[in-house]
Symmetry: C2
Subunit: 342 residues, 2 copies
């Protein structure tokens, strides 16, 4: 049976597409073809890759986003950007991604192809190669359409040694742009809530900004992207790991008006909402203005801001000076604010 | 709320355990603690790793095994061995694994801990470090208890260049032991079929055998482990990629009596059944006897055999000389023989 024949008789994923036989071969060929890869099978069981110099960075993320398609992105773009961003935050230049699908029996090929196109486009944008992969199929009702795992390998240039334990009193806290849109865009689509505005995911490959940033500035101590748990979680981690206080100024934190309104409506704190294209860099005071100017010169940092500074005490805390001049401790959310936003 | 308090009030996974807040932190701490890791957080978002020399091998696999626990193993041991084996087959010494969980809301902590213990034990056995991880939780009914993705990085020693396209006429085909037990053990447990014998998964980290094998023998052309699609699939891939014929002798292929009987009962071909601790090595004729003796001296190759040889024609096929002296073409299964055996 030819590929075309199989597809004509069935436009949905079968259990047999995960079974290691000819049908799985067809599925893998569809995936490899759709990713625009050429030559001798880029999706090998195990790819071997040359490393010239520097250390290797290695990361993994599974994506269970619901819905699969949302304003500003989809699970495919998210799966590429999420793993690229984890590598970027470690100071690495992302190089290779793996791609593993768990498909539910009955999933539409049409949707799979749409996700694959999005993955291919995001990988091109981020300048990473997808070099190995895997597919599994489970029975109808045993998954939710499509889950994706991407793992990533990157190269950390010699001399780059970022750590959330390296923030020191006097350092500046930089943020590359407005927070809160990603989580609310997904919530809006999933729950059918209209926040009366165009909220779009900010999902983007941050390495395009972080790699040149690290080439130019040598006092970047730590970088973290504000995903699940939002800005509040990563700032608290840096404060705890470094044994310092991060003091923020609410006036300087960019929160889009649509995010502010939606959060008021739902009772959320914008600092708890997940993003997929926002990160914090803790930078030595002497380079803070230069780093800010560089970020603002880049499309992914056009609305960057210095949102706070590092002080000694109270160690391990994040303190926010509010719009009204008061102070409050920024806490970590207890559980999930918005499940399945990544 | 303390860790102990949370656990007392709830012995099951909550959606909130995936939300990026304090509960997710508790879950990650449980995982890290249970894996027996020490020091500064081995499960970082992205681990950075030193590479001295050689090329890097990189692979990924998602595991959706049903049931999670089966004779001879469980999804945790499988997740470690499966990825270790993919690296081993590329000629690499496995070094680092990532570990990503997709948990269904309501999954028992008790079962998670059992799986974690099994992962820790298998990682020790295989001498690999779990260096980065991720957890996601989806609503009840949106997954099947637990899915695991492991990705792996290994180092390919200088000079090792395996490829399924390198088999040449005259080479010998070595198999490290009896086939068919893994798939049937899982089927037996899942469907409650008693095959009247103790079928146990052969799940094992093959690098323990392949790394020293490659140090001693320089004419190993290709190695492949016989997972989904069984021995038949990997032999056909080697035959196709190398443009050669693999001629097997059925008398030399070790098939346990219990596997033979179960296959007869169910109408399966033992060569189509998945394994998780069996591999084929194509070796130059001049080293075949030495490589066989070495494999037999190792616990993972005690019942190894030379099961066939490489000939020129018919190119791209696998031909089996049967027990009765006839010949048949060994085909690739069309779809799934046994779904969710890995």
């Amino acid at each position: 049976m030819t590929d075309a024949m199989t597809r004509r008789t069935n436009e949905r994923i079968l259990l047999a597409h995960g079974g290691g036989g000819l049908l799985m071969k067809e599925l893998v060929e569809l995936i490899v073809g759709r990713l625009g890869a050429s030559g001798a099978g880029p999706l090998q069981d195990s790819a071997t890759l040359p490393v010239d110099r520097g250390r290797v960075a290695f990361t993994t993320d599974s994506f269970v986003t619901s819905p699969l398609f949302f304003p500003g992105g989809d699970i495919g773009r998210l799966a590429v950007c999420g793993t690229v961003n984890d590598l970027a935050m470690s100071g690495a230049k992302p190089a290779w991604l793996s791609l593993s699908f768990i498909l539910e029996e009955g999933f539409l090929f049409e949707d799979l192809e749409r996700v694959l196109d999005s993955i291919a486009a995001a990988a091109r944008e981020a300048d990473v190669a997808i070099v190995t992969g895997d597919t599994k199929v489970v029975e109808r009702g045993k998954a939710d359409g499509l889950f994706i795992n991407t793992s990533g390998v990157g190269i950390v240039p010699p001399g780059v040694e970022l750590s959330s334990a390296k923030a020191r009193p006097g350092d500046a806290v930089l943020l590359n742009g407005p927070v809160g849109a990603h989580g609310l865009a997904i919530l809006s689509r999933r729950e059918g809530i209209d926040f009366g505005s165009e909220l779009e995911s900010d999902c983007a490959p941050l390495s395009l900004l972080t790699v040149p940033l690290l080439e130019r500035f040598t006092t970047v101590r730590a970088m973290r992207d504000a995903t699940r748990g939002g800005l509040a979680s990563i700032l608290n981690e840096i404060a705890a790991d470094s044994g310092v206080c991060l003091r923020l100024d609410e006036r300087t934190i960019p929160v889009p008006e649509a995010v502010r309104r939606a959060c008021e409506l739902m009772g959320y704190d914008p600092l708890h909402i997940a993003n997929e294209g926002k990160f914090v860099a803790v930078v030595g005071r002497e380079e803070a203005d230069g780093a800010l100017a560089f970020m603002r010169s880049h499309p992914l940092g056009a609305a960057a801001a210095i949102v706070g500074e590092v002080t000694e005490r109270p160690a391990g805390t994040v303190v926010l000076r509010t719009l009204f001049g008061g102070e409050r401790v920024v806490d970590v959310p207890y559980g999930d604010i918005l499940p399945r936003i990544c």
